[in-house]
Symmetry: C2
Subunit: 333 residues, 2 copies
Amino acid sequence: MARIALDAMGGDHAPAAPVAAALLLLHEIGSAHQLQLVGRTAVIREQLSTQLAAAPASLVEAATRLEIVEAPDVVEMSDKPSVAVRGKPNSSMTVGIKLQAEGKSDAFVSAGNTGAQMAASTVFLRLHEGLSRPAISTVFPTAKQPVVVLDSGANVDCSAAELVQFARLGHVYARDILGRENPAVGLLSVGEEPEKGNAAVKEAHQLLLGAGLNFIGNVEGRDIPAGACDRGPIDVVVCDGFTGNVLLKFYESVAPMLFGMMMKNGVTKEQIGALVHSLDYAKYGGAPLLGVKGVSIICHGKSSPEAIKNGVLAGIRAVESRMSHHIGEQLAK
Amino acid sequence: MARIALDAMGGDHAPAAPVAAALLLLHEIGSAHQLQLVGRTAVIREQLSTQLAAAPASLVEAATRLEIVEAPDVVEMSDKPSVAVRGKPNSSMTVGIKLQAEGKSDAFVSAGNTGAQMAASTVFLRLHEGLSRPAISTVFPTAKQPVVVLDSGANVDCSAAELVQFARLGHVYARDILGRENPAVGLLSVGEEPEKGNAAVKEAHQLLLGAGLNFIGNVEGRDIPAGACDRGPIDVVVCDGFTGNVLLKFYESVAPMLFGMMMKNGVTKEQIGALVHSLDYAKYGGAPLLGVKGVSIICHGKSSPEAIKNGVLAGIRAVESRMSHHIGEQLAK
């Protein structure tokens, strides 16, 4: 049984969205796992009452299984990362993460301030040996299977050794969370030849050849939307956090731009609606902060209840698959 | 009157496409400019005969104005860049570029081997003071006006000073070729705050504040498809050649992927056809190799006659606007 702490105060639509996510989850996970709602008890209770007002008796009954963990403070979306660590020690974020450090929880999920969650996770859960910062992986929808891209923002200046660490983190994530066997790991570059790329990428290419991973060589920007290169499907794309962040934000923006153009061409909202759904990042749940000793799942600030629910399910998979343990083993190789 | 040398042997569809482009241009530019077809004379003459077989007499007459410049060798798409410089001194690429160095031509346009064109242009035209390599700019279609992104591939490891040079090159290109007044120049980063970015970007931000350009600060990946950030429209986006190349290839691939998904949703080929046209890079002509003393326009290897024609028109604009001269002035600031 996994115990998942959910930040009830985090995200643009908190506390309504996290509380709604918890109620959705009661259906899906039954009593197999324990949900811990972290935040202001009175606020959470009030939300529960409101949302349960018209609910069937079975859900009201199930909701009694939710654990509420008091945390009087709230980290705002505009707070600096250090606030969560030092300025608000009783925030839902800090209290929720510390539960793991104290052995009272197995995973933490939040749609709140990402920088603060990274800082608090790093300080209170600590990092696996050899890492200087955690990495954020993002799942990109493609023409084929979704592809894991990392780092997508935490590390902007990366050495070759760090790129190799991302490859190891991505390997474990793709295997444990996405269920890919022997994940194909590509290194993002400007050409497929090993001598193409900037200095860090060229060195990383050589290191990856001996890293014991299913390294398929360099991949290019065009291979990501395709989900494959000429050597086959891609599961993981490794890049520095600067390139990954630029790509992620570009991707999030290019689809709406194209849809806008399409509607001028007479494409209907219904036709686009189905496509938006198939590109929906929320389906893939939150992004685990990779490299911390424990499980910390980052959800988008705009997350819907469905998206937060999927973040919690990703957290459960991370706990059950022993992802953090496997990351420790993989980094020691 | 501009004299434009067109590589008749360069590109996947040579010599048919460049020769067809020249015939299209005879209509558009009349006798205002001089076209020079560079390549194997016999091959060019044969192509002209074939394409003019069913042409109206006026076009056959106009075609006599085309100058043919003999160049017996051909740089293949698979040749290494050095081949054009040292291995094939009588190739259409080398001969075409050298015409400028000899004062017999004003611009060179090719859809051939890009690396070879860069190398030959750098060696035979030389670079403006202070540059170590030329830059490639690419025009990205956006929801608003097209945006110039540079460097998009020539320089993978960039210093802050080089990013500032790209800003100067992009400023002149946007003004002289795209006709933008006082172009808005953004620096690609992972957040709009000046302290966001990798080391080179953070330093470049500070340098750009005093560069005498219309620097609008950092822009993010999402701002490119939008063509604007919250401070207004964007004309130029500055980034290192690694990030620019990854983005360009990603962009070229993501639209077809989305169109493929759309067609599964019942969107018709006609609806998509119009959109493909509005996203067509060919409309914007070739990309000038920025920083060389002269004009060297790079067209995509797959260029259609229409695309090569637009490359030549870009070359004419570069000559008439004195782009290279303005670049020299701007780099000296």
